[in-house]
């Protein structure tokens, strides 16, 4: 009978999570050390921007992660709406703050990068503006999650929002790019794959791996604690309703 409760006993998931978690942490720590070493010491300084361009090795992977996490959130939301899989809810909910944190990191590093270049902390550059809007989307999602007493409703409403937001992300990106070409042609970084030198590409990719591994690790930590919190809540409800 107890199996009828949502999240009642995701034993298999918890077991699997237990295996993956230390590996994810190890990959994260190793690739972070290697990535940071390479970006500080082996990668060349930018011929125009000098040493300050090294912040790119944090900024760019963080911006990638911002979008990556939103994509995961939207996918998990779709799974939860269509197949009603409880773990999908939990993973979407657990991804949101992580994605928001990466988005924030991308904004802060972008602003730090802009300071020596333009002499101001903030420039309405197309990439930064899009990332800023993405942060608002994350904040809206998390606010909606927190606005309901009923966890199931919160999950459904925010899943719909995540999908609507996901459809809108490319439209917003396109609009902001258009707006930017009208007002301000300058850009912090132009990543046109082919022109980037391998000595810069490698640290970038390794940092990206580090961030992904961090995401996997923190996601599992958060999901496990969510599942425990769910169990506690169900026990509370049992106390109240005696059922």
């Amino acid at each position: 009978m107890a199996d009828l409760h949502r999240f009642a006993n995701p034993t298999r998931f918890l077991k699997l999570a237990g295996y993956i978690q230390p590996w994810a942490l190890a990959v994260f720590l190793i690739s972070l050390s290697v990535g940071l070493y390479m970006s500080f010491f082996t990668a060349p300084a930018d011929y125009q921007q000098g040493e300050s361009a090294r912040i790119m090795y944090v900024h760019v992977p963080a911006a990638w992660m911002a979008m990556f996490c939103y994509t995961i959130m939207a996918l998990a939301s779709a799974v939860s709406l269509i197949w009603k899989h409880p773990l999908a809810d939990v993973s979407a909910r657990s991804t949101a703050p992580v994605g928001a944190a990466f988005t924030f990191l991308a904004l802060v590093t972008g602003s730090l990068w802009g300071k020596p270049m333009w002499g101001t902390w903030w420039v309405w550059d197309a990439r930064l503006t899009s990332v800023l809007v993405l942060l608002f989307l994350y904040i809206g999602y998390m606010a909606l999650q927190g606005a309901f007493d009923d966890r199931v409703r919160a999950a459904k409403a925010s899943a719909i929002l995540a999908l609507v937001g996901f459809v809108n992300v490319p439209i917003i990106k396109f609009s902001v790019d258009w707006w930017n070409t009208l007002h301000q042609p300058a850009s912090v970084v132009k990543m046109s794959g082919s022109s980037i030198h391998p000595s810069m590409l490698w640290p970038l990719l390794i940092m990206a791996i580090a961030f992904k591994a961090y995401y996997v690790w923190i996601l599992l930590v958060r999901m496990r604690s969510e599942l425990v919190a769910n169990k506690v809540r169900i026990l509370r409800l049992k106390q109240v309703h005696g059922g």
Binding site: L81, V133, F136, L137, I139, G140, A143, L144, A147, F148, D149, R153, K156, A157, S158, I160, L161, L163, V164, G165, V167, N168, I171, I172, F174, S175, V176, W178, W179, L182
Partner: protein, 221 residues
């Protein structure tokens, strides 16, 4: 189709008898715009430069504020349940309510906009395009906002939450709406922007009723 008109008519007569709603939205729109000359100073050059942006931002905010009530009263008094049980598909119900909402709030905004354009010292070349752009843009605002209005039903903080959900999604409409007007004033291209605004309208017309209906269904559960 007959049912659709039936629901629109009912919402319109509700709005007209309650009376104040449309007036309040327009009043908010006007006062929000009037704050700008007071805030940035009355120099005609400055005002003219920011006029289209200010009018569009104020229109966005007014549309958003009025949306909070879109489904709220029907949700609270049980009408939404009965609408769900009526012969109208939920998507059509959403569309009908949005239509009524646009007629009672979007349209008055458009009528008020030229007056505000005068107050903001906008160049006369921009007037027609401002109205056209608002005509193309405000229906999308109502459509997108309806999804947000459905999602916040029964939540703890309605209005502020709605603005958080909806305003980021309004950004593309703002950008192209302003750009069309500025283009017309500066003598540049503006047809492309209007086409893109129409594209947004068609896109949101096709997609938002589904999302709104899904939002309403989960609110009723």
């Amino acid at each position: 189709m007959k049912q659709f008109a039936f629901l629109v008519r009912r919402d319109l007569s509700l709005a007209f008898r309650q009376g104040m709603d449309s007036l309040m939205v327009v009043a908010f729109f006007v006062i929000a715009v009037v704050l700008f000359p007071l805030g940035v100073g009355p120099e005609p050059g400055t005002l003219a430069r920011i006029s289209s942006g200010v009018i569009w931002v104020a229109a966005l905010l007014s549309a958003m504020l009025s949306l909070e009530r879109l489904f709220q009263t029907d949700y609270e008094d049980g009408s939404l349940e009965l609408l769900a049980l009526s012969s109208l598909p939920m998507e059509v119900t959403v569309l009908a309510k949005v239509t009524a909402h646009w007629i009672t709030t979007g349209l008055p905004l458009i009528i008020a906009a030229p007056v505000l354009a005068v107050l903001m010292q906008m160049e006369t070349e921009g007037f027609v395009i401002l109205i056209v752009a608002l005509l193309l843009g405000t229906p999308s605002l109502s459509l997108i906002g309806a999804v947000g209005a459905a999602l916040i039903l029964g939540s703890r903080r309605g209005g502020v939450l709605l603005s958080l959900l909806v305003l980021p999604l309004y950004i593309p409409i703002l950008i192209f709406g302003v750009s069309a007007v500025d283009g017309a004033i500066g003598g540049y291209e503006f047809k492309a922007q209007l086409l893109i605004l129409s594209g947004f309208f068609i896109g949101s017309l096709a997609l938002t009723p589904w999302a709104g209906a899904a939002g309403l269904r989960q609110a009723l559960e």
